[in-house]
């Protein structure tokens, strides 16, 4: 779709630019920063060296890499795609300079701009999203600086993880890989070996993070690469709300994404992690599109800790993602609220895992799946109650909504209970947007397309209510834009 065209355009302009630079007598060093395709120990060493990492991290990466080599790609998910050639991927590419991007919005694919406009994204932000090299970036940097000052005053550390490795090595070493071990699964092992950047957050004891970590993140989200690594630590009695992603379709040249997110919540700490994912889904025939293989896990390490995952997933060709909570501390709470939309040829296998270990632990799962076109999706959830998890409670609700007759929805709930005091509730529904519902709305003067939007947004309401305010509004609009033309 638009994304591909846009990419071509960017490349052309980059070439033009490069040749012009050459004429002027400059030599671009961009090529030197990009590794040739392929993955071996030297590549891992090279990445670590480029980042000037300490030896322990290099060793950790190498161990992950060696482990990865012994593993095979998982194929239990209800998705299908052609084999991925991991040797055809380039694992390190230095961030592209802004000057290689389009010079103004006039050079950006109009279709992409149209989508931005529909989503109501301000012009300045559109420029940033499309990678336009303009002064707007300077504005953003200054905004980011203001935020940084405020966070610093509160004692909050929020920086790229590569920076944290340099500035707070003991914190990173203490927590990295403790929630998602390097060899946890195929994609996590790959990520551990070759991750290039991501975010690091540390909220000290008793601190309530003074702002949602969102705007700043958006500004810094560019070029974190396809193997992103995020580590968030909320120390005792602290609180943080973290927002990842963006409603706007983002330009990205990498097809394979394998991110890892680790959350650690100590006694009485609370982490709210919200995601809006709208990566390029591929075209109507399923060509192109991002493969999103993510490992997200939270460890409620302390008593009374609480972690909420809220996600709105509308993008990517393939989504493989199960944000999970390990409820280790007594009275700890895990929540998962999810809306996933698959249309055209998109496939999603997503859900959560709630592992109850501590006593009196509680978990809530609310999953809403919407399939349109030839979209296909599965909810896959595991609720595990350990033998010592007295009085554990889980409530699971998964609802699927089908639009049209070529879409599919599947539910795979797994339950493992080893403690007789557990209370489990499970509700599941599958419904179609009824002809009667549509006609009812139409007979009140609402067009069919608006009626579909209204019904879908109503269906998602329980989850949208969990999103931070500004994002809930954006999520509504995102659903509307995503569903355009999905009816009939």
């Amino acid at each position: 779709m638009s994304e591909v065209k846009n990419k071509e355009k960017v490349e052309i302009s980059a070439q033009e630019h490069a040749s012009r630079e050459y004429e002027a007598g400059f030599v671009s060093d961009i090529e030197a920063d990009t590794l040739p395709p392929g993955l071996n120990e030297d590549v891992v060493r090279h990445i670590s060296a480029m980042k000037e990492e300490p030896e322990w991290l290099l060793n950790w990466r190498l161990e992950a890499f060696r482990h990865w080599q012994t593993m095979t790609e998982p194929h239990w998910a209800h998705v299908s795609y052609p084999p991925i050639d991991y040797q055809a991927v380039s694992y390190y590419s230095a961030p592209k300079s802004m000057k290689d991007g389009p010079k103004s919005l006039d050079e950006v694919d109009p279709k992409l701009l149209e989508t931005y406009a529909k989503l109501g994204i301000p012009l300045r932000e559109q420029e940033w999203l499309a990678g336009v090299a303009v002064d707007a970036v300077f504005d953003s940097v200054s905004v980011a600086t203001t935020f940084k000052g405020k966070l610093k005053d509160a004692g909050v550390i929020f920086c790229p993880i590569s920076e944290a490795v340099r500035d707070y090595p003991e914190l990173v070493q203490k927590y990295l890989g403790t929630v998602v071990p390097a060899g946890d699964n195929y994609f996590a092992a790959l990520n551990s070996a070759v991750f290039t950047d991501g975010s690091f957050v540390y909220i000290p004891k008793g601190v309530r993070c003074p702002m949602e970590l969102s705007t700043y993140f958006r500004i810094n989200a560019m070029n974190t690469g396809q193997f992103e690594r995020t580590l968030i630590i909320a120390d005792e009695r602290s609180y943080v709300s973290y927002l990842e992603g963006c409603t706007a379709p983002q330009r990205d040249e990498n097809q394979l994404h394998a991110a890892v997110v680790e959350l650690v919540a100590m006694d009485d700490a609370q982490i709210k992690y919200s995601t809006v994912q709208n990566w390029y889904p591929g075209d109507e025939n399923g060509i192109g599109g991002i493969y999103n293989f993510v490992t997200k896990r939270a460890d409620c390490r302390g008593h009374r800790a609480k972690v909420s995952w809220t996600q709105v997933e509308t993008g990517s060709a393939i989504t493989w993602k199960y944000p999970s909570c390990v409820l280790r501390g007594d009275h700890s709470v895990g929540e998962f609220y999810s809306v996933a939309l698959t249309k055209m040829c998109q496939q999603a296998d997503t859900g959560t895992k709630m592992i109850h270990i501590g006593k009196n632990t509680r978990s809530t799962i609310v999953s809403k799946g919407i399939s349109a076109g030839r979209g296909n999706q599965s909810y896959r959830g595991l609720v595990k109650i350990g033998k010592d998890a007295d009085n554990a409670r889980n409530y699971t609700q998964c609802d699927s909504l089908l639009i049209g007759d070529k879409s599919g929805a599947h539910t795979f709930p797994y339950v493992e209970v080893k403690n007789a005091t557990a209370t489990m509730e499970h509700e599941a529904t599958t419904s179609k947007i009824g002809e009667d519902q549509l006609f009812y709305c139409q007979s009140r003067g609402i067009s069919e397309e608006d009626a579909v939007n209204m019904i879908v947004n109503g269906f998602c309401k329980d989850v949208f209510n969990e999103l931070p305010m500004e994002f809930a509004v954006e999520a509504n609009r995102l659903m509307e834009v995503s569903l355009e033309g999905a009816v009939g």
Binding site: Y440, Q442, S443, R444, G445, I446, D450, I455, G458
Partner: protein, 250 residues
């Protein structure tokens, strides 16, 4: 207001309406009565534009326009309203929100300014009183968890807000207890106006005790077999439908 000529309608290849002729003038209240399966609901659904009904012959002219050419929402914009026999639940969609979208889509179509949230709330509160609908219903999901009677009251409330030119009440009295029936009838009577025609589809005379029709039609076997004034309904109540059939087929 509306003129139906020789209307033939099939559903799934089966002919349900077999040549309906019906004309309703401005401000008139008509009752369409008939036994089960006679095509009463089919007629109101066809007028409102529901999918799945194939018009094989005939025409419907509404305010001088060809009604059958219009999409359901266009018919709503032109002032047609259907109170459903079985109002549909739409979970998570706020009752007021649905109505506001409907009202404003119509205003937009007519080139009027859309109502803002404040103006709309005022309108809605005023109309809710008409059918004694508790304010808490306004913010609930559309018909979500409503009792049968509440759903029917909600339909008349919507009619009050949308202010149609032609209202079709499809078995609005079914499932109502006597108190609810009185409330609904009172609402409808308040909405009677010189520029508003009402068609009541019903099995029973009982609704007509509260809402006096100008004309009563008997629909049976896909045709209007007999028309008369309000006294016809009483006669039907007493004698059933068979004599009408017998009379018509002689």
């Amino acid at each position: 207001m509306i003129k139906i000529e020789n209307l033939h309608v099939s559903v799934g290849g089966k002919e349900i309406l077999k040549g309906i002729n019906l004309e309703i003038g401005d401000g008139e209240v008509h009752a369409i009565m008939g036994p089960n399966g006679s095509g009463k609901s089919t007629l109101s659904n066809v007028i409102a534009g529901r999918d799945g009904y194939e018009v094989t012959q005939g025409s419907i002219t509404y305010k001088g326009k060809d009604l059958l050419e219009m999409r359901p929402e266009e018919r709503a914009w032109e002032g047609i309203f259907l109170a459903f026999q079985y109002p549909v639940e739409i979970p998570g969609v706020n009752n007021t929100y649905l109505l506001k979208a409907g009202v404003n889509a119509r205003r937009k179509h007519q080139g009027e300014q859309e109502l803002d949230a404040m103006e709309f709330m005022q309108l809605v509160k005023e109309k809710a009183k008409l059918v004694e609908l508790d304010q808490s219903f306004l913010s609930r999901g559309v018909n979500e968890g409503f009792s049968g009677g509440e759903k029917k009251r909600n339909e008349i409330f919507q009619m009050a807000v949308l202010e149609p030119s032609l209202a079709l009440l499809d078995e609005t009295d079914s499932g109502l207890d006597i108190d609810a029936l009185r409330i609904v009838a009172k609402g409808v009577n308040t909405l009677r106006a010189a520029n508003r025609s009402i068609v009541m589809v019903t099995h029973y005379q009982r609704l007509l005790d509260y809402i006096k029709p100008d004309v009563v039609h008997v629909l049976a076997d896909g045709q209007i077999l007999k028309s008369g004034d309000a006294s016809l309904a009483l006669e039907l109540e007493e004698r059933g439908y068979d004599w009408v059939r017998a009379e018509a087929h002689v």
